[in-house]
């Protein structure tokens, strides 16, 4: 059995909330994927419920909490997209944790807002442009996109689409 000093378990359970995921797994912030995996395996060896059946109930409970947090850290850090979202949040200093669902969405939300608009009006006109495109009315689609860009002047996705449509219109005429 992987024996671990009870003192260490209790201490870690107490300060867990003040550690970021890297500190929790004992890896450097620039650690590679395989280093993170190895660290997860090493930590699990100590704190996974299977490794602690022989401990007293209160220590098992502490190990359980640590084990769940370690898994969370691993889930975030092993996934490039989640890790990126977490690193951003961590550097802002707002939180040491991130929800798995949130970390997954942070990335796609950004992508989505580029593609379909970040403001209500931007999205509305972009949607209209898409509708016109389906019926083949490129000129109308361009008008809607221009409107969308008045709300989101810096939307790269809109600009790219506008350029493409203009090129298409030019080619057609």
């Amino acid at each position: 059995m992987a024996t671990i000093d009870p003192l260490e378990i209790t201490a870690l359970a107490r300060i867990m909330d003040e550690l970021d995921y890297y500190q929790l797994l004992h890896v450097k912030p620039e650690a590679s994927a395989s280093e993170i995996r190895q660290a997860f395996h090493a930590s699990s060896r100590h704190y996974h419920p299977d490794a602690n059946r022989q401990l007293a109930a209160d220590l098992r409970e502490q190990c359980g909490r640590i084990s769940k947090r370690i898994t969370e850290a691993y889930c975030v850090l092993r996934d490039t997209r989640r890790r990126k979202a977490y690193d951003a949040k961590r550097s802002e200093g707002t939180s040491l944790r991130i929800q798995l669902a949130e970390a997954r969405q942070a990335h796609s939300t950004q992508q989505n807002s580029e593609r379909r608009g970040a403001t209500a009006q931007g999205r509305q006109y972009h949607a209209k442009a898409e509708t016109e495109l389906k019926t083949g009315n490129v000129a109308a689609a361009i008008r809607h996109l221009q409107m969308a860009l008045t709300f989101e002047a810096n939307n790269v996705g809109f600009k790219a689409m506008l350029d493409e449509l203009r090129a298409r219109l030019k080619a057609a005429s």
Binding site: M1, A2, R37, Q38, F40, H41, S44, R45, H48, P49, D50, A51, R53, Q54, G64, S67, K68, R69, T71, E72, Y74, C75, Q99, L100, A101, E102, R104, Q105, A106, S108, T109, N112, S113, R116, T119, A120, Q121, R123, Q124, A127, K128, E130, T131, E132, A140, H144
Partner: protein, 665 residues
């Protein structure tokens, strides 16, 4: 000496028990020296129960009192497809219990599925006790990796009812990988292709010395060796109809004979290229003459019959590889598990798909029980420990406004894990919320399996922007889910270990243990002497008193309900006593853009139509300002767009209604 702990592979068709003793791993045979026993439970006239291959032989003569394939029903709701299917083909009576549970009626008694499985487990316990001469009380029990929380919980309950302390509910493919890699110091990535009697699982693992980490697991709980038998059965039944113009499927006796013949033919085709299926008497005609059947079946012909089933397994394999970010070339080995993987056509297909010969050096019928035994021994300190790091097979979701289910913990997330999400109410000064928990891949709540629901009212009431309800989801190392709702402001909390479709609450289980339901099992402890005699009467004749039907009792802590039909998404603004939740503290609305709606567009479009009818049309030219994000009530928002990607916007005012007649200037 360390405590004795056994490993049990509780299969759909067969069950196997193994243990590790003095460093030696062995499968424990029953009194007839069979290393696996049929997972069949036969209720005798005197109220006692027999389990195993002799019970299976009773199927033909007493199909109504002989329960096969209980695993297909365990942890299911009465209204589920699987239960309907079983009702159509099983001769025993399946009845509905309170809370949409399933019971099996035998004579004047009703039994829950965990009780039936408990009888099979008790048989294994007794086999182990007979072999070791010692009391056995601890076990690791395996389940298909793709089992949901209800099925896992029900299996664990079965263990308790059988008189076993369940040390761990272990996934079958993980157990198989352990049996292959234990103590070998491997550094490999392997796939476990597990085709059982009723389920298919594929798991991809990374083995690093003594750590077995599951990277991904996928499965199909509706696909197994039984389906292969059914293909032969259909062929035979159609032949019979063609010849005699009578459908043998309508007669339980004839049906069982065809089923057994089909199973035997399938097994024989693993050895021979061709079999002759002969049933001298399927039915007796009105003239008293037997109506028999004789048919040749070649391996190639059988291959054609089941080709689509085999292909279906590889679709699941594709998914598992994709989820683990690997290709077949990244794998170092493929392990076959389950009786049907003996079929040459499956071995060939697996070799072709994975581009390598699968490993077959451990018996595919025993490898899972052996893995379970290793883990059991490791948990009681009999052997050096190996770490199993497993994953949850299904998305865990919470029901939110609009009949949707939002994922909280995605499938293939390692366990144990815990996540806390914060929600608010739909209405101001709402009295209580209903927390509904689901498992499944679907965005619409009703398309997932409901695990449980409970009401929480211990939060600080107020305008909805002030209400904060923390909901904590936990999946433990057994893959079993528990959910707690709490409010930091009041310090109150409500929680439940979700367990529904076993239909059993703790009191009921305690009662079953007290009544020793599993004690009805009479395990043969000597093989019958002359082969001609009927089964030897067991020495220990522990005749259990017939038990009165289970008290239905007050409703379980959780009132399970049939997943509600799609609720109208636009609710009256009047007081809503109990309503779903609204997530907060997310980039709210945009969250919803990103959830996929696999194959659900039709439903959504219907919903969309409904919505556009009930919602006043916004003037196109003057879009209302976007509402402040945290304030948006998902319940009163319309589905405004479903785009070609299957994404859709659920937002209030930011898009005009999708009225096809509206021309946009």
């Amino acid at each position: 000496m360390a405590e004795i702990a056994i490993g049990i592979d509780l299969g759909t068709s067969n069950t196997c028990v193994a243990m590790m003793q003095n460093g030696e791993l062995k499968v424990l045979p029953n009194a007839f020296d069979e290393r696996t026993s049929a997972s069949v439970v036969h209720f005798r006239e005197d109220g006692t129960v027999e389990v195993g291959n002799s019970a299976k032989a009773k199927v033909i003569h007493a199909p109504a009192h002989t329960i096969c394939s209980a695993k297909r029903l365990i942890g299911r709701f009465y209204f589920s497809e699987e239960v309907k299917k079983a009702q159509a083909i099983c001769a025993y009576e399946i009845v509905e219990a309170p809370n949409h549970g399933v019971r099996i009626q035998i004579r004047d008694e009703e039994f829950s599925l965990p009780e039936i499985s408990a009888m099979v487990l008790r048989e294994m316990k007794q086999i182990a006790e007979r072999q070791t001469g010692e009391k056995v009380t601890k076990a690791v029990i395996t389940v298909p990796a793709y089992f949901n929380d209800n099925q896992r919980q029900a299996t664990k309950d079965a263990g308790r009812i059988a008189g076993l302390e369940v040390l761990r509910i272990l996934n079958e493919p993980t157990a198989a990988a352990l049996a292959y890699g234990f103590g070998m110091g491997l550094n490999q990535r392997v796939a476990v292709y597990d085709l059982g009697g009723g389920t298919f699982d594929i798991s991809v693992l990374e083995i690093g010395k003594d750590v077995f980490e599951v990277l991904a697991t996928c499965g199909d709980t509706f696909l197994g060796g039984d389906d292969f038998d059914d293909r032969i059965l259909d062929l035979l039944a159609d032949d019979f109809v063609g010849r005699y113009k009578i459908n043998p499927r309508n007669d339980p006796y004839a049906f069982e004979k065809l089923k057994l013949a089909s199973e035997n033919a399938k097994k024989q085709l693993s050895i021979d290229d061709e079999v002759l299926i002969e049933i001298p008497s399927v039915l007796i005609g009105e003239d008293g003459q037997p109506m028999g059947l004789s048919r040749k079946l070649t391996r190639a012909e059988f291959g054609m019959l089941v080709q689509d089933l085999i292909l279906r397994t590889f679709k699941v394999c594709d998914e598992a590889l994709q989820q683990s970010d690997l290709t077949v070339r990244d794998l170092d080995g493929v392990i076959l598990v389950g009786g049907p993987t003996r079929l040459p056509m499956i071995r060939e297909a697996v070799t072709h798909y994975f581009q390598r010969e699968p490993r077959t050096d451990v018996d595919p019928d025993e490898v899972v029980a052996m893995g379970a035994a290793i883990h059991a021994a490791s948990l009681v300190g009999e052997v050096q420990d190996s770490m199993l790091l497993d994953v949850t097979p299904l998305d865990l979701r919470i029901g939110v406004a609009g009949g949707l289910a939002e994922p909280v913990i995605e499938r293939n997330t390692p366990v144990p894990i815990e996540q806390t999400r914060t929600f608010t109410t739909v209405a101001d000064y709402q009295e209580s919320v209903q927390i509904r928990v689901y498992q499944g891949d679907h965005r619409l709540a009703e398309d997932n399996t409901m695990l449980g629901q409970f009401e929480f009212s211990g939060f600080k009431k107020g305008p909805r922007s002030d209400v904060r309800i923390d909901v904590t989801f936990e999946i433990d190392a057994d893959g079993i889910v528990s959910v707690t709702a709490s409010d930091q402001a009041t310090g109150e909390q409500a929680s439940t270990t979700i367990s529904l479709s076993s239909g059993l609450d703790n009191d009921q289980i305690e009662r079953m243990i007290e009544q020793d339901v599993a004690g009805r099992v009479v395990t043969a402890d000597a093989p019958p002497a002359p082969p001609t005699s009927k089964l030897a009467a067991p020495a220990a004749k522990a005749v259990a008193p017939p038990r009165s039907a289970l008290p239905s009792g007050p409703a379980a802590v959780l009132a399970p309900t049939r997943p509600a039909p799609a609720q109208p998404s636009v609710k009256p603004s009047a007081v809503i006593p109990v309503t779903p939740l609204v997530p907060v503290a997310q980039d709210d609305l945009d969250d919803f853009d990103d959830l996929e709606v696999d194959g659900e567009l039709e439903i959504l479009e219907e919903e969309l139509e409904q919505l556009t009818q009930t919602r006043p049309q916004a003037p196109v030219a003057a879009p209302a300002p976007a509402p402040a994000q945290a304030e948006i009530d998902l319940d009163t928002v319309a589905v405004s767009e479903v785009d070609e990607d299957g994404f859709f916007d659920r937002s209030g005012n930011d898009l005009s209604a999708p009225d096809p007649d509206q021309k946009i200037g």
